[in-house]
Amino acid sequence: MIYQGKQKIWSEYQKEIPDDHWFYVRSCIRQNFFPGAEVMFMKICRDLLGKDIYEAAHHTTCGGIAYHCDTIPQETVMTIVARQFALMTEAGYENYVASCITSFGNYIEILETWNEFPEVEAKVREMLWKACRREFNKPKYVAHASDLVYKFRNDIAARAKFRLVNRKTGEPLKVVEHIGCHYSKMFPSKGVGGAEYPYVLCGMIESWGGNVIDYPERRHCCGYGFRQYHVKANRGYSIANTHKKFESMEPYHPDMIITNCPGCPYFLDRWQYAISELEGKTYGENGYGIPVFTYEEVAGLVLGYDPWDLGLQLHQVAVEPLLDKIGIPYDPDEKYRGINHKDLLKPEIPGVLRCC
């Protein structure tokens, strides 16, 4: 691997990311899967870095899941998105940041479509007006939330209490980065680092002390693939993709996986359990799995937030071996305690995959 070769490509795919004043839209599913991730993003941007990040209570789904499952026409998705832009305009913002990768891809795709076909944009403006009497300006900048954390990665590193380093050996952790397909595969120029060798997560990992692993199936889909998973008969294809990735990364003995998509961490995490049940195989050390994180969770960990406040107890793969490796303190008794010590109840321990 020639690192300078990648640097050359990265230098060709640098996008402009404004420093402040963002209109933030959440993901449909992330708050259920990774409840601490979006909260952490807000905390980092607002409390730690003092940025102006605005959220509107009335924002909805972007329609991306339905669009990619082919259940609603594109005009409908566009009108939903136009309404989101109207909320941004009404709040007085020009920079639009999405938490979800598919939303991000959806926004970019729609803006590019309007660029190419202004008559479609005019029609959508009319439909939005008829539907809810709203008007909108197109955002000046569209970013994914990982673009912002990438931009602030060194500010985070400067305030970090922990680094992605093995406390005992002093060696950098071996980190797999996984980018959501809709981040830059459709429009390579809209992603930091492009589509073949995206830099957005690599930059965070490098800045926070880890070593990035480039394994043969790095670019491969996590296996979610919308329709592949949503139809039960197709789930064998979904898990086969995930299985392929784990088989490919196995020889590198990764310590952890970082992702920037709502679906990827979920499937890379939960399918490890399913693979262990189907094949009797696990990919971490001593029968554990390889812990999978969102980039916000990792930012929270290096900044010293309590792992249970980050919602890491909702992961299928136990995170404790990694916390021990880095030296992050945690209280095992507090793992399944919610706000005000409410008992969240302990999940059943799987038969094959070792969990804490």
Partner: protein
């Protein structure tokens, strides 16, 4: 016969045209940007289909131009259009007034790193057709590990017939070059598996088909019909290639010790720059536009401006030489007819 003739480009087209013009009694001036003559051919090891050493071709052509004025390491700064002639200003401070300019500006090998998915410049064991020729000549290239060379792959059409790469044209010579290089690798490493990943095999030239059959029958080179989609590197530093075996209708993958990208032929950007000084028209394929693509490939739309070789599109060595002779004759006819 004191007519100035400026030849832009000292590759094989420029050399051959100059040699012919000298034989016709003229004293042409060759302007070459690089420090050596012979262009791309000078960087090649040997040529299909008879494995002729490329250096023999270049030295024979160079011998024929010993009487010509040759400026190497020299660029064209600008060209001014005078009433019925051109003022050519060179980077060495010399300016030439001439009625006749011959473009033998050649081509540029497609920059294989633009096909990011193939990992040229990123993965250690990925090289280009030119790199391999240089390794044949010098034996020096850290990317080629002669001690462990069990599997080699060739990717055809890198930057050719590829709209996304900005070149929709067939580069014509890469198919036969891949066959030649595959045979040469088999000669050096008889036990190695050698694969060619192709979309179509275009064996149009003299004895090319024989060469291809020999690669199959005598050397056992394995041709797989399918364009490589993605290249990656495994933990041992070997390259993994993914393609579709379109004849089997199934995806195929293979681990290789060396991957050779057959970089295609695109118009030389320096040519485009100089052409814009006159200005000359570009054709829809991105190369210089001839007056007529059938009857007058060496003629331009402007009086006194001639073309030869790959500046008007991908060409083989014999085609280029034939065009250079043709252009020399056209220039001779142009001079004699205007004298009357």
């Amino acid at each position: 016969m004191k007519e100035n003739i400026v030849i832009i480009g000292g590759g094989i087209a420029g050399l051959e045209a100059a040699g012919q013009l000298i034989r016709l009694g003229y004293s042409p001036i060759i302007v070459e940007k690089q420090d050596h003559l012979g262009g791309h051919v000078a960087e090649w090891h040997c040529l299909f289909p008879d494995m002729t050493p490329a250096s023999d071709v270049v030295s024979r052509l160079t011998e024929n131009v010993s009487e010509a004025n040759i400026f190497v390491n020299t660029e064209i700064l600008f060209i001014n259009h005078l009433k019925d002639s051109y003022n050519v200003m060179l980077s060495n401070g010399i300016s030439i007034v001439t009625r006749i300019i011959l473009f033998t500006t050649g081509f540029r090998l497609f920059d294989a790193s633009k096909k990011e998915e193939y990992g040229y410049g990123v993965y250690d064991q990925v090289i280009t057709n030119r790199d391999l020729e240089q390794w044949f000549s010098t034996g020096n290239d850290d990317r080629v590990n002669s001690r462990e060379l069990n599997a080699v792959g060739f990717v055809h059409c890198v930057g050719s017939r590829d709209e996304k790469a900005g070149n929709g044209q067939c580069s014509k010579v890469c198919c036969i070059t891949a066959v030649k290089q595959a045979i040469e690798m088999k000669q050096r490493f008889p036990e190695a598996q050698v694969y060619c990943f192709y979309m179509d095999l275009r064996m149009f030239g003299k004895k090319y088909e024989d060469f291809y059959i020999s690669a199959q029958r005598d050397y056992g080179v394995r041709f797989i019909r399918g364009r490589v989609s993605e290249v990656s590197e495994n933990i041992e530093g070997k390259v993994i290639v993914k393609a579709e075996d379109t004849l089997a209708g199934k995806p195929v993958k293979v681990t290789l010790d060396l991957l050779v990208l057959m970089a295609g032929i695109v118009c030389n950007p320096d040519c485009t720059k100089v052409a814009s000084m006159i200005p000359l028209q570009m054709d829809s394929d991105g190369f210089l536009k001839s007056r007529d693509n059938i009857m007058d490939i060496t003629g331009s739309s402007r009086s006194g401006i001639f073309y030869a070789g790959a500046c008007t599109g991908a060409k083989t060595v014999p085609e280029t030489l034939a065009e250079a002779r043709s252009a020399a004759l056209d220039i001779h006819n142009y001079i004699t007819s205007s004298r009357i």
